[in-house]
């Protein structure tokens, strides 16, 4: 029997999961929409992974979670490792591209840049103020233009003279785009202009002050858009590499961190059939009014967060009449 390591990356838009073996080879992979329900999405990816592993003699012995719902899914899966997405992406990408120097990553709601030197991340930045230039902006503009977002990139490549779109701000970009369409710019040029605007915005904000050296790897959902890839190539003057598994790098990275963590416990896919729910309320113990969230497993307390002090969890749990239960595996507690 082989040991497997499960990594789950639960983003705002999509949920990604992989099972890797001890050598880091991907044995099973899954990619689904989160649709605002991370627990359901995780159960769905588990079902897919289990199906792919059917017949193979693999036992999952460690679990890692990352992405914006990492705490919640970490509690649900009893994960050994709950890791921030920046580290997870760096580790995942480095396992595939050990010589990478710059990682561009544009996801559903955030974008980041990771600078790597000699195989170690040395600097990073995330978008702080605005979601302009992220995946959700692209898909809402695609909808406005009546073009399926999957075709966006191909259409952009057909443009000879990309329209200039003001990409500084989502709202202004949108009104500029509407204006350019109304005065007769061809659709292809507008789409290509949008791709350029996204790249300009990214390099001027997220990438500001960073030294962008090749080899460059571009990943995250938006890396599937060939129009944006071309715009990155033109803007940086370097080749920009897109991995077929680029969207899985976070999941892969956190699976590797879980593997190297050393802690092992048998994991069962049956967790799919367990009922999880979350409840929350403002604590009310002091004027901080912390918004406390409790995760329940079969109606008993599993984990919770949002509290600034220790009293918060107990107070909310007692007030909501939640039974005390066993907390999830080690690392999840206390945040």
């Amino acid at each position: 029997m082989r040991k497997g390591y499960l990594g789950v990356d639960i983003g705002s838009i999509s949920t990604k999961a992989v099972v890797v073996d001890a050598a880091g080879e991907v044995l099973a992979r899954s990619y689904l929409w989160t649709e605002g329900n991370p627990v359901r999405a995780v159960k769905a990816v588990l079902a897919e992974l289990e199906e792919q592993l059917d017949g193979e003699d693999v036992e999952v012995v460690a679990v890692g979670t990352t992405g914006s719902a990492r705490e919640l899914t970490g509690a649900v899966l009893g994960a050994q490792v709950v890791k921030n997405e920046i580290t997870a992406h760096a580790v995942g990408t480095l396992s595939r591209h050990p010589d990478v120097q710059t990682i561009f990553e544009i996801g559903g709601q955030d974008s980041k840049i990771i600078i790597v030197r000699d195989g170690v991340p040395v600097d990073y930045a995330m978008n702080t103020l605005c979601a302009a230039g992220t995946g959700s902006f692209l898909s809402s503009q695609a909808r406005r233009l009546g073009v399926p977002v999957e075709e966006f990139g191909e259409r952009a490549l057909r443009s000879k003279r990309p329209t200039k779109i003001a990409g500084r701000c989502t709202v202004f970009a949108e009104s500029d785009l509407v204006h350019k369409a109304q005065i007769g710019h061809p659709l292809e040029d507008i789409i290509a202009g949008l791709c350029n605007a996204i790249v300009g915005n990214y390099l001027n904000n997220v990438g500001k002050g960073k030294e962008v050296l090749a080899p460059i790897v571009f990943q995250g959902g938006v890396s599937k858009n060939v129009g944006v890839v071309r715009a990155f190539r033109e803007a940086t003057g370097h080749d920009v590499y897109v991995d077929d598994d680029g969207h899985l790098m976070g999941a892969l990275g956190v699976a590797i961190v879980a593997r190297d963590d050393g802690e092992e416990a048998p994991f069962s896919f049956d967790v799919r059939d367990v009922a999880f729910e979350t409840v929350g309320e403002e604590c009310g113990g002091c004027p901080n009014e912390c918004e406390v969230v409790l995760v329940l497993r079969e109606r008993a307390f599993l984990d919770g967060w949002g509290n600034r002090c220790e009293r918060g969890l107990t107070r909310v749990r007692e007030h909501l009449g939640v039974a005390e239960g066993a907390r999830a595996g080690g690392s999840v507690a206390g945040r």
Partner: protein, 383 residues
């Protein structure tokens, strides 16, 4: 004249904004006004909500916290407010806050200490409020307040550097809390010195497990968000939770040391430290941020956190110099901006990633886990 008492009716009850634990020395000074002191309630989210609701949206975050403190103090019965001023927008805080609070219908007097750290000018303002005050008494109050400040800063500096490694969780906090309770009310120089010595002894005796390859991080930036932990979301403590030895150099003690006649020599020294990244003073604490970062880099620190209120001009100036320094020396600097909307989750994600990054670089340099960087991450508890 920066003291307006015409609107204070009845017994005077004086109050002031919070900043860290400096309310202790501030109360020592305020006692010289011979009136009741109303300490604003402990900072909570309500403080910020009140402050933000009544402040201009784009004003820097210390303004909003100060205003929140004033409103909560006025609610608690204060009628005489103290504000200071400084070399940036802070210089106008007092006037604008007074106007806002009057529009909200509060009746109060405002004492604006416009002289920076000039004892002479403070005395003039205090004397206007309390004619019974004399020079000797005022000077003595100053001495005590300064001594309290130094004790406070020394104790807190020790806690910052060591709390990450305590064997029993909460040991430093217990000693610290007992120290604060006793310092508040100890108003003789010898008593303060003895308390400081005893506390530092107790702190040094706390069992600790200091790893040999620990991470050392300096915290630089704008002084209010540096010194008020609530406003920076307890970032120093968050670093300590991730096993980091934290150093900070901006304290009220340091400000006193570099005030008055020594100011220009100090700034010149800072420009020298900041060379070649700065050639001119860039306002408020900006020069210092660059100078200290450069110094810490050369002293072998693992990284620097640069904190500022969103839109803080002097620190925005410092950022381009810091980015160049960081790039040229591959020295990690994490930039954090605070405003009323700062997301706790986003902050934690960034800190987690920053500490992971420092750990990986350090292990690479020291040879630990060099062929397998991710292994180093696992060793620090999975996050």
């Amino acid at each position: 004249m920066s003291v307006d008492l015409s609107r204070v009716s009845g017994a005077r009850r004086v109050s002031f904004p919070h900043m860290g634990n400096y309310s202790i020395p501030v109360k020592t000074l305020a006692a010289e006004l011979d009136c009741e002191i109303v300490e604003p309630p402990r900072m909570t989210r309500r403080t910020l909500e009140l402050g933000a609701r009544h402040s201009p949206e784009f004003v820097c975050i210390p303004f909003k916290y100060n205003l929140g403190n004033y409103i909560e103090a006025l609610e608690a019965g204060a009628n005489l407010l103290i504000q200071a001023g400084g070399g940036c927008r802070f210089g106008y805080y007092g006037e604008v806050q007074e106007a806002i609070l009057r529009d909200l219908g509060y009746e109060f007097g405002m004492v604006r200490l416009v002289g920076g750290f000039s004892v002479r000018e403070h005395y003039r303002d205090f004397k206007a409020v309390n004619p019974r005050l004399n020079v000797r008494r005022a000077l003595q109050a100053y001495r005590v307040a300064i001594r309290q400040t130094r004790a406070l800063d020394r104790v807190e500096d020790h806690v910052r550097r060591n709390v990450a490694f305590e064997a029993e969780e909460g040991a430093h906090d217990r000693v610290h809390a007992a120290f604060l309770a006793e310092l508040d009310g100890t108003r003789d120089l010898r008593g303060i010195a003895a308390l400081e010595e005893r506390t530092l002894g107790e702190l040094a005796a706390i069992p600790a497990e200091r790893p040999r390859d620990l991470l050392r991080v300096g915290v630089v930036g704008e002084l209010y968000v540096l010194m008020e932990p609530f406003s920076n979301h307890f970032v120093e403590r968050e670093l300590a939770k991730r096993g980091v030895e934290v150093h900070r150099f901006v304290t009220v003690s340091a400000m006193i040391d570099h005030a008055g006649r020594k100011k220009h020599a100090y700034l010149d020294r800072m420009i020298e430290h900041a060379d070649p990244y700065l050639r001119y003073h860039i306002g408020a604490d900006g020069t210092e941020s660059v100078a200290m970062t450069h110094k810490l880099m050369r002293e072998g620190f693992d990284g620097v956190l640069h904190l500022k209120p969103f839109g803080c001009m002097p620190e925005v100036n410092a950022m381009s110099a810091l980015q160049r320094l960081s790039r040229e020396h591959t020295f990690p600097v994490l930039f954090i901006s605070y405003d009323a909307q700062t997301s706790e989750t986003g902050l934690r994600t960034r800190l987690d990633a920053f500490c992971d990054m420092l750990r990986m670089s350090k292990d690479r340099r020291t040879g630990a886990g060099a062929d397998d960087a991710p292994a180093a991450l696992a060793s620090q508890g999975g996050r």
